[in-house]
């Protein structure tokens, strides 16, 4: 039916991801506000059983095709374009994960409609769809209304609690056929397993995380010393890993690990959404940054406006003195 709200199910290693349920919870609110059905779109090959978990939606559109078994954004965008052209939804919410990165933009381009990125909220305002997007590393939020339908919404993690989008109800499932190129131009050859880190950071109680604010690889020692004093481990944000200062196995955030330690001490980390995604569930977050406007202070429990390079050794010394 035209005008429905769609949520595209995101899968990883044969399972639906949390953000799929977050998107369903959000989609449910929007569909209810517009008084239209919420539909989940499940794409893949031989994964029909996953539809049972999508009961938050009124209906599941299941598109089955061998090419959809591979996590190729281009292939998935092509299938979605075909489905959307046939069925004319009002909005298509796509979880913005690395797995399908760019699929929302391709879909929007193929349909000739707006595609919004970094969306953290979506609602009906006076009969129109309005999205809230987080830009500039979390420093600015933009409220924006798409002028054409279907609006393609690249949804960022954390919009709603995932549990709100889970349901015991069994949705109706409708099989949809898509025609895709026999020889896609992008093919997955193999998965590469994570390089084994020497420690499992997801099981640590205390993590000292470093960001761009530590300025150079040499300064890493200060953070390592603090981690030793606290009995924790060191990890970092994307820029630190990209600079080669820490291995990928110690990256927290979108491409890296998701951690929930008892203490997450963020040194010189601004708090870009990509990083926050991986650490927001920590029991206690303490952030140290020279920029009082750094977005990390919006999610930290305690904040210090200071140079991490000065605070880290002072704190290490205080901790050692206290521990005796």
């Amino acid at each position: 039916m035209a005008g429905n709200i769609w949520v595209v199910a995101d899968q990883w290693q044969g399972r639906l991801t949390d953000i799929t349920f977050e998107a369903l919870a959000l989609g449910r609110e929007v569909a209810d506000a517009f008084k239209v059905p919420l539909e989940a779109v499940l794409m893949g090959h031989g994964c029909a059983s996953l539809a049972e978990e999508l009961g938050c939606a009124d209906n599941v559109i299941y598109a089955e095709h061998p090419a959809l078994a591979e996590p190729v954004p281009e292939t998935h965008a092509r299938a979605l374009t075909e489905l959307a052209q046939q069925r004319q939804p009002r909005a298509i919410v796509i979880p913005a994960t690395n797995t399908n990165w760019g699929a929302n933009t391709l879909l929007a381009a193929q349909l000739g409609v707006p595609g919004l990125n970094f969306v953290v909220d979506l609602k009906a305002v006076d009969g129109a769809l309005e999205a809230r997007c987080v830009l500039y590393g979390g420093k600015i939020q933009v409220r924006v209304q798409p002028r054409k339908e279907p609006a393609v919404i690249g949804l960022w993690p954390g919009a709603r609690p995932a549990d709100q989008g889970r349901s015991e109800r069994k949705p109706s499932v409708e099989q949809a056929s898509v025609s895709l190129a026999a020889e896609p131009k992008v093919r997955l050859k193999r998965y590469i397993e994570p390089e084994a880190g020497e420690v499992d950071l997801t099981r640590q109680d205390i993590l000292v995380a470093v960001g761009r604010g530590i300025q150079s690889k040499d300064n890493l020692e200060l953070a390592e010393e603090l981690a030793r004093a606290l009995g924790g481990e060191i990890c970092g944000s994307r820029p630190v890993v990209d600079q080669g200062w820490l291995p990928l196995s110690r990256q927290i955030g979108k491409s890296g690990l998701t951690v929930k330690p008892k203490l997450y001490l963020a040194l010189g980390i601004s708090g870009a959404p990509e990083h926050v995604e991986g650490m927001k569930g920590s029991s206690l977050i303490v952030a140290v940054n020279t920029d009082p406007q750094a977005p990390i202070f919006n999610i930290a429990h305690y904040g210090v406006v200071a140079d991490a390079l000065e605070l880290a050794p002072a704190l290490a010394e205080a901790v050692r003195a206290r521990k005796g």
Binding site: L106, C133, A318
Partner: protein
Amino acid sequence: MNLVVLMRMVPDVVEELEIAPDGKSLDQEALRLIVSESDDHALEEALLLKERFGGRVTVVAPEAPEVADVLYTAAAKGADRVIQLRGVEPGLGVAAMAEACAAALSAIPDLLPADLVLTGAQSIEDLDGLVAPLVAHRLGWPYLGVVTAVSEVSNGTATVIKEFQAGYRGEFQVSLPAVLGVQAAEKPPRYVPVAKVRAAMKATRIEEFEAPQPVPEPLQDVTIVALAKPEATGRAEMLEGSVEEVAGKLCELLAERGLL
């Protein structure tokens, strides 16, 4: 290999960002621009590919304050040709900018055919699209994003590594020509000494190219309602004092929670 790198300038978020009086854009006068971080990685990956497989690297960048420095630096690092695209403004209207850039790629003399167009996987102001898939769509080429390496190029295909999650990566086979959104190059972007950049400024001519008309209006398909600084939902309790005082307070806090 013929490699094209698209680079653009974005606001430096280390500086305070000010919202313009209309509430719908950033105050341009207060902005300091820097090259988009993943675009710098795209350049590095292109230079590494040139070193490995031979060929040439052309950098194309929309005009913006300080963009000449970025182009001279690219030349100093090893880019063979640097082009400034006039009439295309970077900013929130990414879809229009990408469209104009893609049109220019086809129109700039002796640029296409290329094997790869590389650009950043994302930027901090990609409100209405991502550049790499938009350019790919316009050129009708395949696209892959979140790329961290191009390991092999042969027989019209490239072997490309992209990141998934939790440290997992994927190895993909991509038909050429293709557009790649680079997340991080195989090595950190190289450093060039100022003297080398100065030498490049003397030896390099930045080509100026007028974007083909009509240049699309930015943000045609969306209405910006308002920009705002995020409201802190649970603003941190700030600890103040000298570094030693703050260290002492933090120690107390951690001890109270049984973390020491």
